[in-house]
Structure formats: C-alpha cells, structure tokens
Symmetry: C2
DNA sequence: TTTACATTCAACCAAGAGGTTGAATATATT
DNA sequence: AATATATTCAACCTCTTGGTTGAATGTAAA
C-alpha cells in the first residue's frame, strides 16, 4: 500500500477535472506544457500550476529539452491508488457480510 | 461512470487520512458522531466537519435518533470511484501498448 | 543582436480546507 | 425546573487551491 501522504496526493491530484483531462491528454504520449494547456480556457499559468500538483503526486514527470518541457504520464500512483481502493472495498465487503451474518444469527435466536 | 462532480467529491473526501480513518471506523457498523470522534486528537467540531465532507460525497449517511446522530458507511461512491480507476487504468494501458507497438514498428523500419 | 517563444516566478485575489473556541439548539436525565 | 449530553452553528485563523496578470529567465530563430 502507498505511504499515506502519497495516497493523499494521488487522490487529491485526481479530484479535479482539469487535471484528469491533462492526464488523459498525456495518455497518447509526451506533450509540452503549451500543448497540454492549449485546449483549456484558463491561462497557461493556471495549467502550469495543475501540472505541478500532478508532478507532486508523481503522476507526471518532466523532461527538459532546450526551452521545451516534455511531460509524460506515470502509471504507478494510479495503480497504487486503484489497488488501495480494491483492498478497501474487499475489506468493507467482508465486514458488511459479517454484520449481515450477525443480524441473521440474532434473528434466529428470537 | 459517476458524474464528474460526484467523482471529484469522492476522491477529495478520500484524500485525507482522518476521513479514511472515519470510514474504517464505520465499517464495523453504525456509530454516533461522538463515538467516531473519540479516538482523534482533534476537536469534536473538526471531526464533525470531516463528516460533512464525507456526507457531501455520499460516503456516509446519517440517521437521527433523538439527540444522537448515527452514521453509516455507503459503499456506492467508493465502488464507482474504483470502477472509474480501473477503466482509466485499462484505457491507459491500451494507449501505452499502442505507443510501444508504434515505437517497435518505427524501429523495424530503420 | 533583436525578436519571438516556452516556461516559470512573484504578487495578488477569492474561495475552500482544516483546525480552533464559544455559543446555540435539541434532547435526555435528575 | 435544572442540569447534562449530543450535536451543530458561527466566527475566526492559517494554509492551500485555483485562478489572474505582469515580469523574469532561458532558449531558439531572424
């Protein structure tokens, strides 16, 4: 499981439609900051900040080539978050089963 | 897939260790606000606010019984978020495969 | 070298998060 | 009726987010 702060950052980064759109954009390969920002109505600077949040969550890495910064998507954090979610869902499913069973047993005793 | 705002709220609600702990606490059944708050070092009011965030994301529901408010966990939003993550991962995996294949093809042409 | 481009940095703003304390409200208990 | 309990509401604080604009920096092209 990811370190708590890592999970925090991943989920926080994903909890924004602009950032999810940026990641989708990067799924078809590297892109420069300007290219990533182009479809958005907001300023380049605003997009640049979103990219920072994604970098902090390690969902995006940056490769500088001259004046151009090429961004690429990293799968690991999303994989880890998805895994955490699955584990958590299973954990809860088990608990809920147990509760149901307890309730059934109580009924049988009446 | 969940409406974007729903997903936003779910991921945002999950992106905090206190709130995840609250949800874990509720996995063993209903609990009152005070009971939920008890293990935390922060004030009852702070926990109450966290609960509000969880309610807004529909991860928690509230049943009032006299002066006591009983909270319970709802699985749907986490299920939906997990599903979104899985779909997104598959989407990306496919894209990355395609990219790899493209790169391979380019190599073969040299 | 001047100009254009790609990007960040800095300052600012409004809104929200996450916490506090203190008061208000509603319900139980004595 | 008085008191205690459960919870929220309201105001406040600090930090972060998400956006803006304008200037600075670094690199490429004329």
């Amino acid at each position: 499981m990811p370190a708590p702060k890592t999970l925090d950052r991943t989920l926080l980064a994903l909890a924004d439609p602009t950032r999810r759109a940026i990641l989708r954009r990067l799924s078809s390969g590297e892109a420069r900051v300007t290219d990533v920002a182009q479809p958005f109505k907001m300023s380049l600077n605003a997009v640049s900040k979103h990219i920072l949040v994604l970098e902090r969550a390690k969902l995006v890495t940056r490769r500088k080539e001259g004046r151009d910064h090429y961004l690429s998507y990293r799968a690991e954090p999303l994989d880890a978050a998805a895994q955490w979610m699955e584990e958590t869902r299973h954990f809860w499913a088990k608990r809920l089963d147990t509760l149901e069973k307890l309730l059934r047993d109580e009924d049988e005793q009446t």
